[in-house]
Subunit: 376 residues, 2 copies
């Protein structure tokens, strides 16, 4: 049975849903990032209030602290963190590769040292699957190598072949564990840098293994936006129409719209939550920086077109005060708003696709969102 059900198409844009072990997710979907078992500054109640249908957990962080085995003994990540809706976990690879001089890659896996205490660890493809099974994730990701961009075709080719061999080992271990009743669904990851023929090769290798869905990885790592859109456009045709497509680590509101236009169904990004804590708030007329002095006496809500708790109840002047005073409450209210903005955007995208008006929506979103680059 396929995880994904495609219900509408509109150009390359797709409307559908994913049926997971913890419920159904409407797509295109945005997943707030709950790195260490919490979306920073929010409670589970806040996430329900803004209508998050799925969140992402970071395997690297949870493996190190409090430990996946401890979480398994608590009944899994859902029970441990009090979140009963679907959860996707990454493989831990991305964070491990970010450790640069504290990690070493070989065929077997990645040796790395914890950023907490320097302790030595080995993350193999099998181990990445086992950790995610301990967490009880609804959608687990394979361990892939994420080479830095820009890079040469030779380096990227070697890397994507390693990623494909790891993907095969991940799938084998996943199917073994599934036979024991552990694990729900697993996505493969397509690499290949910015080279269309290498993206095609990686996609074909990954699809030939056979996963419950496919991610496009290795993007949003500093390359120009147009390059990213182009790579997505060139990769999507090699992915099965009948399965979900997840663009990892993306992105700005415009990126979401542009990637949906190219056939992407799922996203995750720390941008709405991290930027909120830094005072950058997204609005239908573009981002604004709440610490700017011009908001000191501004009685308007962050976004008059937004119906979130923050916008219904508080002014820009109050949010600016909380930011300047360093009050945690400001981080919470800002995060609530930015996530509301992202999740509302996804709702509007889904609605537009269902009614065959996605291109109109896309044009109109661009006009209003980018009219002013930054209100400041």
């Amino acid at each position: 049975m396929s995880l994904f059900t495609l219900t509408h198409t509109d150009g390359s844009a797709r409307r559908g849903h994913l049926t997971t072990a913890h419920g159904v997710i409407q797509t295109p979907a945005f997943m707030p990032v709950g790195t260490q078992g919490a979306v920073k500054a929010l409670t589970a109640q806040h996430l329900e209030d803004v209508g998050a249908e799925i969140i992402l957990g970071n395997t690297y962080h949870l493996y190190l602290r409090p430990g996946d085995e401890l979480i398994a003994r608590r009944g899994g990540l859902h029970k441990f963190i009090g979140w009963s809706r679907p959860m996707l976990t990454d493989s831990g690879g991305y964070q491990v590769f970010s450790l640069s001089d504290r990690r070493k890659i070989e065929e077997l896996g990645v040796h790395f040292r914890s950023h907490h205490d320097g302790s030595a660890h080995l993350l193999t493809p099998e181990k990445a699957v086992e950790i995610q099974a301990n967490l009880g994730s609804d959608i687990a990701m394979v361990l892939d190598e994420c080479p830095a961009l820009p890079s040469t075709p030779a380096i990227i080719d070697t890397s994507l072949e390693l990623t494909a061999r790891w993907a095969r080992r991940c799938r084998n271990r996943f199917l073994e564990l599934k036979g024991e009743g552990k694990g729900h669904a697993q996505f493969g990851i397509v690499q290949g840098g910015t080279f269309p023929e290498l993206r095609q090769k990686s996609a074909e290798l990954t699809v030939s293994i056979g996963f419950d869905g496919y991610a496009i990885g290795g993007l949003s790592v500093g390359e120009p936006n147009e390059t990213m859109y182009q790579v997505v456009e060139q990769t999507v045709p090699f992915l099965p129409v009948s399965q979900a497509r997840y663009l990892m680590g993306v992105g700005t509101p415009i990126d979401l719209v542009e990637a949906v236009a190219r056939g992407i169904d799922m996203f995750d990004c720390v941008m709405p939550t991290r930027n909120a804590r830094n005072g950058q708030l997204f609005t239908s007329e573009g981002p604004l920086n709440i610490k700017n002095a011009r908001f000191a006496e501004d009685d308007e809500p962050v976004d008059p077109a937004c119906g979130c708790y923050t916008c219904r109840r508080f002014s820009r002047a109050y949010l600016r005060h909380l930011f300047m005073a360093g009050e945690m409450t400001g981080g919470t209210l800002n995060t609530l708003h930015n996530l509301s903005f992202y999740l509302d955007t996804m709702r509007r995208i889904r609605e537009a696709i269902a009614f065959g008006r996605f291109e109109d929506f896309r044009q109109s979103f661009h006009r209003t969102f980018t009219r002013r680059a930054l209100i400041s």
Copy 2:
């Protein structure tokens, strides 16, 4: 018309209510502290959820940032921070006196330098009244001098006489502003250190001016608990039965029970909120320190006898994880619990007094709360 209505007495304990410009508060009442226009780590919704009927705002902080005049232009503190229930503000004096070498007291008032930017300010009794009128507080406090303890009778006597002269000036300015439609109610503050005859003198001087309620100040500054209880017991007889009595800056859950037993109606303290952020959680069986390793695999709620959101949904193991990981969400969930514990304790106190069972409640609270000093 009196602000305070006494509905029940049980020994020296009193049950009643305060009728303010923004609604009725049941007493004995505990006021969470919202220093800079927010109770740290919480939103207004959280405060409503835990049933806070009144919060306290700090004049010193709000005067410096964002400024009382800016808040007045926003429509007052209630509107600015999105809180429609009653609010009490202190005079700013306590924080100014804490600046020690950055302030100088004279008859006119206190000269001080801002802890933000070193700018020079003068806080006079009149100014303290005006700032609080700008904030629109439901209950304003007079500017008093808080001498450090221990001290000599001579020093305390000189200080309480200054406090009484300042109280008269505060009252005069308050009544002037009230004539102009600004300001709602004002409490006087009794000083006198730990000397019964000086407490009596300060109480008589303050009551002779005539306020809408009376606070006992200058306690909970490091003196033994028993001394504090004794001073409260010796001071209360000199306060009018028909008006509310507020013990400033107090205290532990046991302190609240003991002060109610001696006739106190109102409290404020940063303890439940500050300790929450530091991982100390109050329970019906005493405090526990959530960072202790023994909670790493503890699936129980913080307090199985508590019905707050945190206890209904999350385990000690999860709260410990959030604390160890430095997640803000932990601060929010811990604060929600500690405030719930304090406000529930006040509800149980009020219920016990109304049913004439306060002494039973008090004995039983002591037995369960202090059975173990600290679960760790």
